[in-house]
């Protein structure tokens, strides 16, 4: 009896500590993100760090599904963001009775449709050649939004000014409110992506990435899975584009979604970790914070000569070197570095 109950206690304690250990990190982060950040972050931090961080993280989560997990290289990310942003904008503009959240979803669906069209070549092409064909999406979409002013409510240069964020009868206009709105959308879609990777379809993504012939021969529906990857990835990227336009910069031009943006998001997932949802966030944080750190450090050391042009140049060089280093030394990116440092850090923290 006594031994049985002690066993039971031990088992319960084991489950408890296991669950606590697994959930403690995410719960702490959520608590900080919802409870502490809105209190301590000033307008500058939210407007120029947190909002771009959240939008880029979500775009990176989307691209990571496609490139990191399913192994389909894409250079059309910014195009899918643009479709999401302009799509949501047009829904709000032309169908004013549609709730804004639904408009975001419709923007995402529009991006998914474009993603499927430009993903079709993936059935034949792979690697570098596929990347070039997704590049077509990049130039085509940017051209369409510049050329046809219908998409931007007859603005001649294609610029759109997003209306105020509204959902559930609330208006999210203050920076803190927009931050909370963004945070919620990004968190929900991030969790959905994590869940997706645990499903059979998610495993098919990885199987196709790791060995397409073997996947085909054991009966994985390769074509359907690739198209699914393009659709889901582009949907998430499209919503990220809508957030970027509605919650972050609010006045958007097609040029804001150019090839540089596509590369920026590709760099985020390489630095953060290919195939890792957590890596998408780490990479985005790194890319957003790097210029700030550089300019602060630079002007502290070199004073006035370290202007924004120099910062830009240093940033490019550092990111370039990091991409090479990560690809060679740590293909799993910051996520893997974090995983390795995690236990050490925890030990240090507990000792204190």
């Amino acid at each position: 009896m006594t031994s049985l109950s002690t066993v039971r206690q031990q088992v319960l304690a084991g489950i408890d500590s296991h669950l606590v250990r697994r959930l403690a990190g995410p719960l702490l982060i959520l608590l900080a993100a919802y409870g502490i950040v809105p209190l301590v972050a000033d307008q500058y931090v939210i407007e120029s760090l947190l909002l771009p961080f959240l939008s880029l993280s979500l775009a990176a989560v989307g691209l990571n599904l496609l490139t990191g997990s399913a192994g389909q290289l894409s250079l059309g990310t910014a195009a899918f963001m643009a479709v999401g942003a302009y799509g949501a904008y047009n829904v709000v503009l032309r169908l004013p009775w549609v709730p804004m959240l639904l408009a975001f979803v419709l923007g995402g669906i529009a991006a998914a449709a474009i993603g499927i069209v430009f993903g079709l070549p993936s059935l034949r092409l792979r690697g570098f050649y596929l990347a070039v064909s997704t590049l077509a999406a990049q130039f085509f979409v940017q051209w369409v939004f510049t050329k046809f002013s219908w998409f931007s409510n007859d603005n001649t240069s294609g610029v759109i000014t997003a209306p105020q964020l509204r959902a559930f009868g609330l208006v999210f206009s203050e920076p803190t409110a927009r931050y909370l709105f963004c945070l919620t959308v990004v968190m929900l879609l991030g969790l959905a992506a994590e869940r997706l990777l645990a499903t059979t379809t998610g495993k098919h993504f990885i199987a196709i990435r790791d060995n397409e012939l073997a996947a085909r021969i054991i009966g994985v529906p390769v074509l359907k899975t690739k198209i699914t990857a393009f659709a889901l990835s582009s949907f998430i990227i499209g919503v990220a584009g809508a957030l970027w336009a509605f919650a972050y910069i609010r006045t958007v031009e097609p040029h804001g979604f150019n090839l540089d943006r596509s590369f920026q998001i590709l760099f985020i997932i390489i630095i953060g970790g290919l195939g890792s949802i957590r890596g998408s966030f780490l990479g985005a944080a790194f890319i957003v914070v790097l210029p700030l750190v550089l300019s602060r450090l630079g002007s502290a050391i070199f004073g006035g000569i370290f202007d924004s042009g120099v910062v830009e140049m240093c940033q490019r060089m550092i990111i370039g070197v990091l991409i090479i280093l990560f690809l060679i030394l740590e293909p799993d990116g910051l996520a893997a570095v974090g995983r390795r440092l995690g236990p050490t850090l925890r030990r240090l923290l507990w000792r204190q």
Partner: protein, 282 residues
């Protein structure tokens, strides 16, 4: 008609003289441009037997396996599976037809765990649509659990328990070969094609693999067709052996028949000086 099998037979006794051959190749010819890879090769594989295809390098062994698995389309000839003719085999339909194969240079999913690598091949098109998978609806949950349970059985069968949740990419070579065999078996194939299952293995690994192939055949009552370079393994494991040389079948029979066949000895002596010892030894 070849005489009834009198050598080793199948321990499960599911050989039947009347049933159509598990696999029959009827006058297969395959050429790449001017190069003839296979010339008029006919081959019969009985249900439940372990059938080896040997031959010097470039004899056409891999081409034959690739014809069976639909990777190459022969110019002439037909493939019969359980008596049903297949003019063209689509690799994407291979699992549905009931054929599984392994590859000479391991074709695993390095980013997935051992368990997932095996479970994924159980019924990749079953388990409901994406939404029911995402929401873990009963149908999807049941399919996933079934796949996991069967994969777990195979993990135990192949002694891979310690690696169960490890990523396959980090496993030692011999263990990865076993994972690939397990992945092929979970779909309960009628025909199991093994492309050099012993390649790159040490003596102990080869010994284990021989046992695994034999007991896998017995337990899953599958028919095994294998290509292998190590002749002592082939002689020991096979019920019958076909010998290819320059795309022609030069001999076909039990290990004893093949070992003493003059054409076989000549083919090996003429092309390769390492293997005849294997032929005459065990």
């Amino acid at each position: 008609m070849p005489p009834p099998d009198t050598t080793s037979g199948s321990p499960n006794g599911h050989l039947s003289a009347r049933a159509p051959a598990a696999l029959a190749l009827d006058h297969i010819s395959l050429a790449f441009g001017g190069v003839r890879a296979l010339t008029d090769v006919s081959l019969e594989v009985r249900t439940g037997e372990i059938r080896s295809i040997i031959g010097p390098n470039g004899a056409g062994k891999s081409s034959l396996l690739n014809v069976i698995s639909g990777v190459y389309q022969p110019q002439s000839g037909a493939v019969y599976i359980d008596g049903v003719p297949y003019p063209r085999i689509d690799p994407a339909r291979l699992a549905a037809i009931g054929i599984a194969r392994t590859f000479q240079n391991l074709a695993l999913f390095d980013g997935l765990s051992v368990l997932d690598n095996i479970a994924i091949a159980r019924s990749p098109r079953g388990g409901g649509d994406l939404l029911s998978q995402f929401l873990a609806l009963p149908e999807a949950r049941r399919a996933a659990r079934k796949a996991r349970e069967e994969a777990d059985d195979l993990v135990q069968f192949f002694g891979l328990e310690t690696y169960r949740h490890r990523r396959v990419g980090s496993l030692p070579y011999g263990a990865r070969k076993r994972v690939e065999l397990a992945r092929a078996l979970i779909a309960r194939p009628r025909l199991l094609l093994l492309d050099e299952p012993m390649a790159g293995m040490n003596h102990q690994d080869k010994h284990d693999m021989t046992q695994f192939i034999r007991s896998a055949r017995d337990r899953f009552s599958t028919t095994v067709i294998l290509i292998e370079h190590d002749l002592s393994v082939v002689m020991n494991l096979s019920d019958r052996i076909a010998v290819l040389d320059f795309g022609n079948k030069i001999a076909d029979g039990t290990p004893t028949d093949v070992r003493t066949n003059d054409a076989v000895i000549a083919a090996y002596l003429g092309v390769d000086h390492d293997h005849p010892q294997g032929v005459t030894q065990s």
